[in-house]
Structure formats: structure tokens, C-alpha cells
Subunit: 349 residues, 2 copies
């Protein structure tokens, strides 16, 4: 292992397909990022079977046998009961905790991964509640939306911290040095009960953090427009926004299918325009929106979509690679420490 | 005016186009519902100009001159300051308050309309906070989603009351006698800070209201699937869900446009499949999702989309017509009274 190798811990049992999707995904990622090496956790025989035909990949993989796989439909509390210490998911996280790997990737069940990651890795110093950040396709490119379900209930300090986490991720993943940050809100003047969002806005404006440009409030329809690079919200609304966007994309794809099926003329047209349609369907497919990231833990954890294929899993692995290469964790720690200092300064003054 | 005439109060100045969109919209609605009559509020000269060429419509219209029109971008507090008593929006609402009309329709600014409607009509007995209900297109047809922005901040009793309001609307508008009602939630087991949603679920299950079938929780992606007839949520998340769905539809329509423009083959295909595309675009156009309804006030108020055309405004007018014809207000009053009684019974027992 050379000094520059990036070593990732992989939950080989996550996702609907397990090792037969995960291992080919690692092969795709390795071709693109030859500086990768992997610690694989899961059923050893199954992993060896998949690696038999991939000798180049096998060379950079260390296999670890895990007794337990967390089912995709397990509830978080069940997952913790059945799989703490013994599951591939836990053991891959623990490899990051112990410093053996720089980040962990799993296509396993989100709730279970969230619960285990919090339990195994704990929150970073200065981060009260970690966030789940999604990469959201927009008309302009991609934005980061957080929190999409890790911390439920709105809280001013959380929103400010999440803005900092999101901005650091935007720099590490998209190379945007001063990302545009916005708070998700509704368009009304009188936002009763959500003083927290307004307060967070006041803090972000007043502190004027050097590593982001705070742009104010945006509404739900601004996300897809790419109106900001980082959109910050509380986990309940964020999760509902993400799922609603996925559902709308699926619904419109279904309308498209129905419209095309209707007449011979339309079907003929469809054949001619097929590649355009395929591109469109790809953009509509929520499985292609891959790789949500847990931010604010003592270790990087990347969640790949459970229904993804090898190509999708490879994107999540590359995301992990880029975040490690760009020292996301160190940047976050610096920014969070600066926030804490500025708060103490403000409190003292 | 025969006994069966349904008289509506119309804000003729609402919407981007004002009377030149509203008046033709009334004409379209009158052809479909000949039992309609209208009280129009707005600039009298402008309304007369539009009515000059529509003698049948003019016969059932009573014109009222209003000095003030509320701008589409006025903030709710501004609107109240500038237009209380004197604006077309206020005066149309006041016509409902005084019993002169059975419902009010406006394509004006939502925030202003919400503030004025609450102020002018006040909440019904037993309804702590009124709701804004949207009609949401789904794969199966249409569902009702509420609240989409009238009451911000989650509260158990509000959620239960809103379930009752939504179910009554589903019966009045879609003729579904026992609508399937669900609460919007996120898929995780541990929903910290949102005990209110779980509590509302327990109440809806325990009380087992005769006029609805409570189906439990749904997630954001279930809305477009038509998984329930009525989906109940708190106003902040509901507004974000609605705007996010609109934004996603707009984004995918843009992708469609870009995909088609790319190659000659695709453009040729597009020409052949044009009618299918037009149908698809119509379904994607948020302006066609017309008519949100304020529920729980002492009077029915229907909000038509501000950017709509005459056809869209006519749908909102027909929605008002159907709700009055089916005695939505009386049904809501009965259901809310029954809830109150059952609560007193539960509190006493």
C-alpha cells in the first residue's frame, strides 16, 4: 500500500443484490480511480466467488467474514439488536472508527445504517446532530440538500451547523470554493412556529462565514432550478421533499409511458426519438441519484441506493474517494471549530 | 334568481391578467354549470369592457366597483394594510361573510388571500386553524393534500381536524363516500420531535371515524402514486412537498425539451409523437393543477393559480360550484361537531 492509497471499508452485503452487485461496482470504480483499495465485509464465500474472475480487483481487496447481514427491511432498532458488532454493516463502520479505512460505503438499509453509524462513529466534536446529505440533480448541474432525514425537528444551531457541513461537502465534491448556501422555507412572510429558520438566516447573514455565500431563503421549486449549491433544511421536511421529488419523477415517467403507448404514430415517433427518451428516463430515475452522505460523524459514511446496479454503486465509491482525497473531514473539523470559536466570542461579547 | 342558483363572489382583479382572464373564465364555467350567478368585484369599467361581448354571462353578473387591487407580489401584511375593506379581494370575501354569496374565487396572491380570508371570515367553530388543501394529480387520478401552507407548526389536534376537513372535501368534490386518509411521515421508526404525527395516527385509528378509512403513514413518494385519497400533513412540510413536486415537473419538462432538441432523428420522432408530448406537458404543467381550497373558515374560499388562463380559472369556479352544490360546509360542520363531542366524551370517560 503506497502512501497515497485510499482505503475504503465496503459493506458487501448491502443492497438488493449484495456481493454480485457490489463487487462488480468496485471493479468499475477501481478502473476510474486506481489509487483505491478495499476492506470488504460480508459472506466470505460469496465475495470470493465474485472476485474469482476479477484478479486486478482481488489484489487490492482484503476480505473479512461477517456472520450477519442486515435485511433491507429491518427497522433501525432491530438492526442494532441483531447486527451490532457481528454484521457486515457494523464491521465496515468499525473499520473506519479504528482508522483502518478512510470511509465506509454501503447500499444497505438507510435507517439501519444511520442508527449504526451514529452508534459506532459518534458525532464530531461541535456537531450536535449529524446530517444526511443528498446530491440533487438540477437544471444547472447538481446541488447538495441536507438534512434529508437524520435529524428530525427544527433547531437553529443545527441548521447553521448543517450549512457549514454542506458547504464543506460542496467544496470537496464539486470543487466550489465559495458555495451559494440557502435555507429552505415557504414563501410566506409570517412563518409562525419556524422562527428557527429565520434565526438561522440571521446568524448566517451576520456571521458571514468566509467559506460560503449565504443567499437567503429558497422554496421547494427552487431546488430543481439549481438556485443554490447547498440547500439546508430540517430532516423531516428534507426527507419529504426528496421522496416527493422521486415520486414525481416516477409519476411523470409513467405518464410518458402511457402517452407513448396510445397511438401507432406516437410509438413510431418514440422509436425515432428513443435515445432522447432513454436519456430522459435516466435523468428521471431516482436510482441514478446515487450516494447520500452522512456528515458530522467521526468518519465518512456513504449510502448508495439499495436498488442500484454496479454502475450506481461505483458512483457512490467514487464519491467516497473524492471526499477522502479532498480531505472533507479535516475541512469540516476546521469549519466547525471556527463556528464554535465565533460563538464563544459572540457569547463573551 | 331561482331557488337553485349558486351565487359565487369573484375577485375580478386577481391573477396576472385580471378581468381579461377572469371574465372569459366565468363564461366557460357558465356554459358547463348554467345554475351559476356571480358577484364580480373589481374595476367596473374593465369588467364592463370584458362583459360587452358576453351578453349571456352579463345577465347573471352583478358588478361591484372596488377601488383597490392587491398586487400579486404584495406581502400579506401589506395587503391587509392597503386592501382591508377597499380591495376587490376583501369585498368578495365579505360578500360570503354577509351571506350574499356561497363561495369566493380569486386568482390573487395566495399569502394575501390567506391573511384576508382568515381575518374576514374567521375559523369555523371547532377548527383551531384553517387549512389550505391542494388537489394533487396522481397516477390513479387526483388526491387531496392538506395543509399546504396555511398553518405552520405541527400539532396533534390540527392534524386530526385537517383529516376530517380533507375527508369531507373528498366526498364533496370526488364523491368518495369513505375516503382513504393517510398521514405524511418519513419512513423511519424513530421519529423524534414528531410525536404529534404518531399521536394523530393513534387518535385517527382509535376513534375510527365513520366517514373515512384511516390507512396509516405514507411517505413523499406515495403521494403521486395515489396511495390515499386524502394526505394530511403540517403546513410547512406540505408547502415544501407541493412546491418541490411543481419544481420537479418543471425540471423534467426542461430535460424533455433539451433531449428533443439534440438530434434530427429525435426532432422527427417528436413531430410524430407530438400529441403524446402535448398531453404529457399538460400533465407536467403546474398551472393546470388548479384550485386550492381554504377549509375550516366560515365560508368557502377557492384559490386559482395566479398564472392561469380562462380554462384554468373556469376549473376553479366549477370546483367552487361542486363544493357548494354538495354542501361541503354543512358536512364539515357536522363532522367537526361530532369530533368535538367524541373528544368531550373521551375526556369525560
Amino acid at each position: 500500500m503506497t502512501r497515497d492509497t485510499i482505503r475504503l471499508a465496503i459493506d458487501a452485503m448491502g443492497g438488493d443484490e449484495g456481493p454480485s452487485m457490489v463487487v462488480p461496482g468496485l471493479q468499475v470504480a477501481l478502473v476510474r480511480c486506481p489509487d483505491l483499495a478495499f476492506d470488504l465485509f460480508g459472506d466470505k464465500a460469496a465475495m470470493e466467488r465474485e472476485l474469482a474472475s476479477l484478479p486486478e480487483l482481488a489484489k487490492v481487496c482484503t476480505l473479512h467474514h461477517s456472520e450477519v447481514s442486515i435485511p433491507m427491511d429491518a427497522k433501525p432498532s432491530q438492526a442494532l439488536r441483531m447486527g451490532r458488532r457481528s454484521s457486515s454493516m457494523w464491521q465496515a463502520l468499525d473499520q473506519v472508527r479504528s482508522g483502518g479505512a478512510s470511509a465506509m460505503v454501503s447500499a444497505g438499509n438507510t435507517g439501519a445504517l444511520m442508527a449504526m453509524a451514529k452508534f459506532c462513529l459518534r458525532s464530531m466534536d461541535g456537531v450536535a446532530r449529524p446530517a444526511l446529505a443528498a446530491i440533487w440533480p438540477t437544471i444547472r448541474g447538481e446541488s447538495i440538500v441536507l438534512d434529508v432525514g437524520a435529524s428530525i425537528g427544527v433547531d437553529t444551531n443545527n441548521l447553521v451547523t448543517h450549512a457549514i457541513l454542506g458547504a464543506a461537502m460542496s467544496r470537496a465534491v464539486f470543487g466550489i470554493e465559495t458555495p451559494r448556501v440557502a435555507l429552505l422555507n415557504i414563501g410566506e412572510e409570517e412563518v409562525k412556529g419556524l422562527e428557527e429558520v429565520r434565526e438561522a438566516g440571521q446568524i448566517l447573514r451576520a456571521r458571514n462565514f468566509p467559506d460560503m455565500r449565504y443567499e437567503g431563503f429558497v422554496e421547494g421549486d427552487d431546488i430543481g432550478r439549481g438556485s443554490a449549491d447547498v440547500i439546508v433544511t430540517e430532516g423531516f421536511s428534507g426527507n419529504i421533499a426528496l421522496k416527493t421529488a422521486e415520486g414525481t419523477a416516477r409519476q411523470l415517467a409513467e405518464y410518458l409511458r402511457m402517452s407513448i403507448g396510445r397511438t401507432l404514430r406516437a410509438r413510431l415517433g418514440y422509436l425515432l426519438a428513443k435515445s432522447a427518451f432513454t436519456r430522459l428516463r435516466d435523468k428521471m430515475d431516482p436510482r441514478k441519484i446515487n450516494g447520500a452522505v452522512f456528515l458530522g460523524l467521526n468518519g465518512l459514511v456513504i449510502k448508495s441506493h439499495g436498488g442500484t446496479d454496479a454502475e450506481g454503486f461505483a458512483s457512490a465509491v467514487e464519491l467516497a474517494h473524492d471526499m477522502v482525497r479532498n480531505e472533507l473531514q479535516r475541512r469540516i473539523a476546521t469549519d466547525v471549530a471556527a463556528l464554535k470559536e465565533s460563538q464563544e466570542f459572540a457569547d463573551a461579547g
